[in-house]
Symmetry: C2
Subunit: 308 residues, 2 copies
């Protein structure tokens, strides 16, 4: 869909609940698009800016994590902080990058206990240490609804960041880990961002197109297909589902934070043999010029803005 059409189809009184997140971003950011060389802007997991020197790319990301949206008031505070950073790290992983530096902002009510805020930051710090990430700044402000903002600066060096747009006809479609049940199982608070795996896939030129699954396969895969201007075929029996959950949960609930990527057909076997990580790797379909770019209607991904 073109941003222009969206604009024409809503009256000035339309509310956010009438559109989805993608349409909103298209409306807001259509005039921000840049064609400057070396810069990839809107529509990828991170913005990319070419650095100085040969084959150095900087990745740039900001992400907000909000009470009653991404966590509950009762969520243990260490896990709130952990999730805020892990979500942003997952976007760096999605392009095959290494995280370098982070800024952390927080909006908090005056009635929060200092102890809670300290624990939130302990959760951030302990995950940052695991990835040798430096937290180099912070900002605090007052807000009734608790939120955290993480701004990340990462890089790829010696290889290019993997975009969503690189999939071509015949590529295999792969996913890491298992999907579904993220909220109920607590995975959405405890997931390990696939930084190592993403970097390996990018640096080794395995992945041609890549993203992380945050809104559910049924919503995120069509985004990759659209970016790559290609359709896809899914082998529904091959989708790795978390034990005790359904295929619908695996496709639509979101917050899986697993990597979704395309691999050239001739490299598929070699990839499966070479995969050095504990996390499962699974081929779940392939890209095809002749196939559709969407899932059947009964599978719809998670959308914060969708009614009701």
């Amino acid at each position: 869909m073109q941003p222009h059409n969206i604009l024409l189809s809503f009256s000035s009184g339309s509310l956010l609940r009438d559109i989805n997140e993608e349409q909103l971003l298209e409306i807001l950011l259509k005039d921000f698009q840049t064609n400057r060389p070396g810069i990839v802007g809107i529509g990828e997991d991170c913005a990319v800016v070419q650095g100085r020197g040969n084959d150095l790319y900087y990745l740039f990301k900001v992400d907000a994590t909000v009470e009653n949206v991404h966590f509950e008031a009762e969520t243990p505070p260490e896990l709130i902080g952990r999730k805020a950073l892990a979500r942003a790290l997952s976007d760096i992983a999605a392009m095959g990058g290494e995280p370098l530096y982070a800024l952390v902002g927080i909006g908090i009510s005056k009635d929060q206990k200092i102890e809670k805020i300290k624990k939130i930051y302990e959760g951030i710090r302990s995950l940052a240490q695991a990835f040798d990430l430096l937290i180099i700044g912070g900002e605090t402000t007052v807000c009734e609804q608790l939120f955290l903002v993480v701004s990340l600066w990462g890089k790829t060096e010696g290889y290019k960041p993997v975009l969503r747009s690189g999939a071509t006809d015949g590529d295999g479609l792969f996913v890491t880990g298992v999907l579904g049940g993220s909220f109920q199982s607590g995975h959405h608070l405890m997931f390990m961002p696939r930084i190592k795996e993403g970097k390996w896939l990018a640096a080794g030129r395995w992945a041609k197109a890549m993203m992380d699954i945050s809104d559910g396969l049924a919503k995120d895969l069509p985004r990759m297909a659209k970016a790559s201007s290609i359709g896809f075929e899914i082998d529904f029996d091959a989708i790795p589902i978390r034990g005790g959950y359904t295929i619908k949960s695996a496709l639509t609930e979101g917050e899986d934070y697993e990597l979704l990527f395309s691999v050239a057909k001739e490299k598929e076997d070699k990839l499966i043999q070479s995969w050095p990580f504990d996390v499962p790797l699974k081929k779940i379909g392939f890209f095809s010029q002749r196939a559709k770019r969407n899932f059947p209607d009964e599978f719809r991904g998670f959308d914060h803005f969708q009614k009701p």
Copy 2:
């Protein structure tokens, strides 16, 4: 005050309203301090990371602007967006930097009109254009209390960013513009970030220490004095006050977004003669090893977290 003392002096049940913003940041970020070479972290207007090549420094900033804190529900939406970006730009200006790239995030309720959000982004876009700043990414999420998050990436090239810590004995203390009445006059929505002025002061090696005045001179100047380990003497009659407002307003209300900086005594006259900008420049005092680092008690700056 040392972070350690602060921690000891609050019980586990203490609330945020019992401490000020500075104490909170010290508690949260004390373990994040980095001693890696080429990196300046917590405590400056922006984080600084040395780039590749000679005399290239990157500046990195995240800032949140929140409804009922930084603007009202009735504030014209273009001005909400404008302010969100202008605040972050002012922090780049405070170090003498040039802005390069921005990411914009927004937290909004589903019941907001699309039209309002579009206008917020128009406010952001029009200010970005004035500074040749590229908006290269965005993020949206749901939040009942409207907030905007701006993450900025800037640089200084051919000269170093000006820190808060460079003031020494005898330096003149200067301020741009006029202070006070920012909220009532609407200045807090309409101010022009002092990017040009800050860059000129830094590139020409005029300013030895610099910051922007966001919480009021009476709160911000002691921060600079503390960072520089030096006291100051103020000529209260010299403080430039916005027409119709009081000296107390000029010292304590905050949101002036003017530059505050120190200049070597022998360069003061030359600076005043060379100043090429329309915005007023005023010497308001000097730094002194023998003077105190604080204002009298009746002048207290703005603090979001202070009771009540």
